[in-house]
Subunit: 279 residues, 2 copies
């Protein structure tokens, strides 16, 4: 075929990215969403759910390292960790790099995401098979946290955008449920979209979490295939503060983005982002 | 007109952005390059030179603050400042916020850029007219620095991509010329493209500057309309180190991105960026 094919994602009503593709490897409508796997020239293989880029071979390390290591290095002894969503397995792969972790549970509602990632993103999904510390469950995360009160040291909300199956994962009631599923010194972290394009959402989530947890902080990182290229996470904690972590105690786990300096610098927000955390 | 018009920029051979437009305000081929001004829904007015986004109403503050304030706050008394390129005037606008600055010279090769920005981006170009501390020259920056040895405290290279009229602004000989146009404690800073897409260029520029200046450092910021959304600047200094600036001494100049914490955090690089600065 001599046609040039480009995949274009409208990331907002008025703006998006366009990227050259060489292959469509997989395309299926699961019970929950449309799952597509394409091969791009710039970013390697790309997972697209309901028309939104979830992860790519080239830049996946940023999101997966940054959702995982800040919370795990803030908790002094994270034995039991839950990922809600995250069916690609990237967060789980980072979590099991921490020796303290005895059990990493994945609660992903869509088994189709898990299976397609095992097949087409073997490096991202590497920890989902054959790892005795990993427990993969195809289940609604909201139900899972309801059934596991006071069990977890760290819970990560690795969700899609707040449309479709993930809507409930951005609601205050869900955050209260996470609070209750955490141990008395537990920590949660959630992906909270772009500080450029999703300002109202970030403000609302921050306010909701602040009303539930004593410590709530916003941090950012650079993800080129995500809307605006700047992405935010909100971390909320019952006791431990990510800003009080001693950089000298952060171990080198072979990461490509995260390091002891990035741990702290990620919380130093530009003024237009910092204002989202103020009442 | 009921057609939906979208402007698509191929930022690399294989990837780009696409953005909805409502107007083409200006389109002209100058002696040096194609100049277009369009109105976008997401980012307001957008200046496009030779098919590449230079600046937009919505995100311009990031680039202009971040090319200016780090160098100006690193120099203890920046009296005379030169901008090479930067015909939109955004860097000059930030520079004159510093009370120490007595003279800010703009050396822009293309008078067409200056005139179209005065007309279509009045807020960005605000300091280009009627400011006695500002000297706007339509001249080749390479010639200007050659004729002004040892004159400047700070020189900023606010160039387009290293194609067309800006090729010479990424060459080692030019950096040596800047070195010679600086006073004995002078500082230079240059925009050096994306750490995701322009890795060889960043490495080369860093190495070249390190061979000329005793202090050379790389820093980044988030610019959604630039390739990958992550942008780099390289700062090189004869004496003063941006890392040694006391945050308590950084004045609030009403910036929207830059602040005392960002000043230092911008230099804390993710591993995949930090490696570009190592031999």
């Amino acid at each position: 075929m001599n046609m040039e094919l480009w995949y274009t994602e409208k990331q907002t009503e008025n703006h998006g990215i366009t990227t050259k593709i060489t292959d469509t490897l997989y395309s299926e409508k699961s019970e929950f969403q449309q799952i597509d796997v394409i091969t791009t020239k710039q970013f390697g293989r790309m997972l697209v759910l309901d028309g939104m880029v979830m992860t790519t071979d080239v830049d996946e390390f940023v999101y997966h390292e940054m959702i995982s290591h800040i919370a795990l290095n803030t908790h002094p002894n994270p034995k039991k960790v839950l990922v809600v969503g995250g069916g690609d397995g990237g967060a789980i792969r980072e979590i099991v790099k921490h020796a303290a972790v005895e059990k990493a549970v994945l609660a992903e509602i869509d088994g189709g995401v898990i299976e397609s990632c095992k097949k087409y993103f073997p490096e991202i999904a590497s920890a989902l098979t054959g790892n005795p510390r990993v427990d993969v469950q195809v289940i609604d995360g909201i139900k899972h946290i309801h059934d596991h009160k006071g069990e977890y040291d760290v819970i990560m909300v690795d969700s899609t955008e707040p449309v479709g199956p993930a809507v409930g994962l951005f609601e205050k009631g869900f955050y209260q449920g996470i609070h209750d599923a955490l141990k008395p010194d537990g920590i949660m972290v959630a992906q909270t979209e772009s500080p450029w394009f999703n300002r109202d959402l970030i403000k609302r989530v921050f306010k909701d979490l602040k009303s539930i947890f004593p410590v709530t902080r916003l941090y950012t990182c650079s993800i080129p295939t995500y809307p605006s290229g700047l992405w935010s996470f909100t971390i909320a904690s019952k006791q431990h503060d990510p800003l009080e972590v001693d950089p000298a105690k952060i171990k080198d786990l072979g990461t490509k983005y995260y390091n002891a300096e990035v741990h702290h610098a990620a919380f130093k927000l530009p003024n237009f982002v910092a204002e989202l955390t103020r009442d």
